[in-house]
Symmetry: C2
Subunit: 243 residues, 2 copies
Amino acid sequence: MSDADASVGAAPVRATRAPRRDAAANRDALIAAAALLLNRDPAVSLEAIAAEAGLSRRSVYGHFATRDDLVREVSLRGAARIGVAARPAPIADPVVQLASLAARLWAEVEHVRVMAQLTVRGPMAHEVGEALAPLRKAVRDLVRRGVESGRMRDDIAPRTLAHLVEGAALSVLDEATTQRLSRAEGHRLVMLAVLGVVGLDWRSAGELVASSPELALPAAPPTSPPTGTASPTGTPSPTGEPA
Amino acid sequence: MSDADASVGAAPVRATRAPRRDAAANRDALIAAAALLLNRDPAVSLEAIAAEAGLSRRSVYGHFATRDDLVREVSLRGAARIGVAARPAPIADPVVQLASLAARLWAEVEHVRVMAQLTVRGPMAHEVGEALAPLRKAVRDLVRRGVESGRMRDDIAPRTLAHLVEGAALSVLDEATTQRLSRAEGHRLVMLAVLGVVGLDWRSAGELVASSPELALPAAPPTSPPTGTASPTGTPSPTGEPA
DNA sequence: AATAAGTTGCACATGCCTGTGCAAGATCGT
DNA sequence: ACGATCTTGCACAGGCATGTGCAACTTATT
């Protein structure tokens, strides 16, 4: 009934009937709402999340056994998308490639920020941290290659430099949410910030960004059309509290 | 008695006797402990803070009426120290001055980080934010002057650039606590990071730092001698739980 | 329309945290 | 040594959040 049994996975053992489709949509809405609110406050109450998703707190337990389960799901999705973005592009120059990575990360701002928020504290900080491990490794490798090829600064230990790159990128991502950066502005800013930290002077960085076709802003705004009842990715619900 | 009446301020109306000196020391220990733990978790319990200070939770209420009062006190002290550090040095070049500001901020890592933590969330985010206003303004002015004089990049709006500078500095400060950066390393890193964000190429930044006597690492480690029982500024107490 | 799948509201248990009252200490100041 | 000044432990109230059991109710599916 109201217990956690929403197994919307594979192998539907249709004993009597197929599960309702709107349930899955609501589940997605919950995850989206959680992601949105966890961005601002890693300790949001289920009440708030449910309200944002247009559901009642009680219903959440129909989809997730535990609050942590919800959060885990959010972080898993985030990790997946980031993992995709972290796959190295076929670019020779490590500098350009780093900028490219930053730009692709920018396309996933929301997810990246959620992950960053969750990494800081909480019971699953470790798990989430491990989920981001491939990203971190990618940055580290890129920096190492960049330093070896003489295209990046060597006055800071590569390990440390990699951390600073992360930090700079996150700064822009933060800036993106507090101010209202457009896609284009964010795209440019992350790259410039990262390149600056890595040692390039600002004119070279600007020229590089302008002249590298790989670093151009991709076309499609990722606003995917809704699949079910509640909007999954964009603004979840204009209504506020249910009371 | 046990209520909040520890008025250790000025104008001692010594009706019957002078207040005990260890009380003031404990108060300081509490603030120090709070600062230390708030760095890691803005939501630490009073229990934990009291334990860190070597006191019981109950005793805290002998010094502060509410938890928020304690936190407020911590933030006030932090703001004060940062305010001092933010006073512009008598340096003409805005670039050098920005680096100098970053370095002076580095000397106050602990305090800066506490403030940063508190700014993020919590009931007094606004207050704390205002306490940091002078710092922010200093950075903004420096950046504006730097851009106008052509010594800093002009491909990013000064306002935004100022934010990125803040972010980069905080990254180093974070790095400082997770890794164990020495004073010297941190000193150099903040400056290099900030200069990088602001548009300098890494060699110029390095030379600037090396050649500017104003940017040299000051001598004295700020471990001030204890005034009373518990150590006020440095490590508060090596003992753990009181139980 | 019938029925299972989801949802909701309420009540309740639990846990963690803050804040207080009070009595019994420990400790500094004189 | 005396006494005021802290400190402590315990008990208790209140608040907020999670998680659960039920009995309705609404809605998608067949």
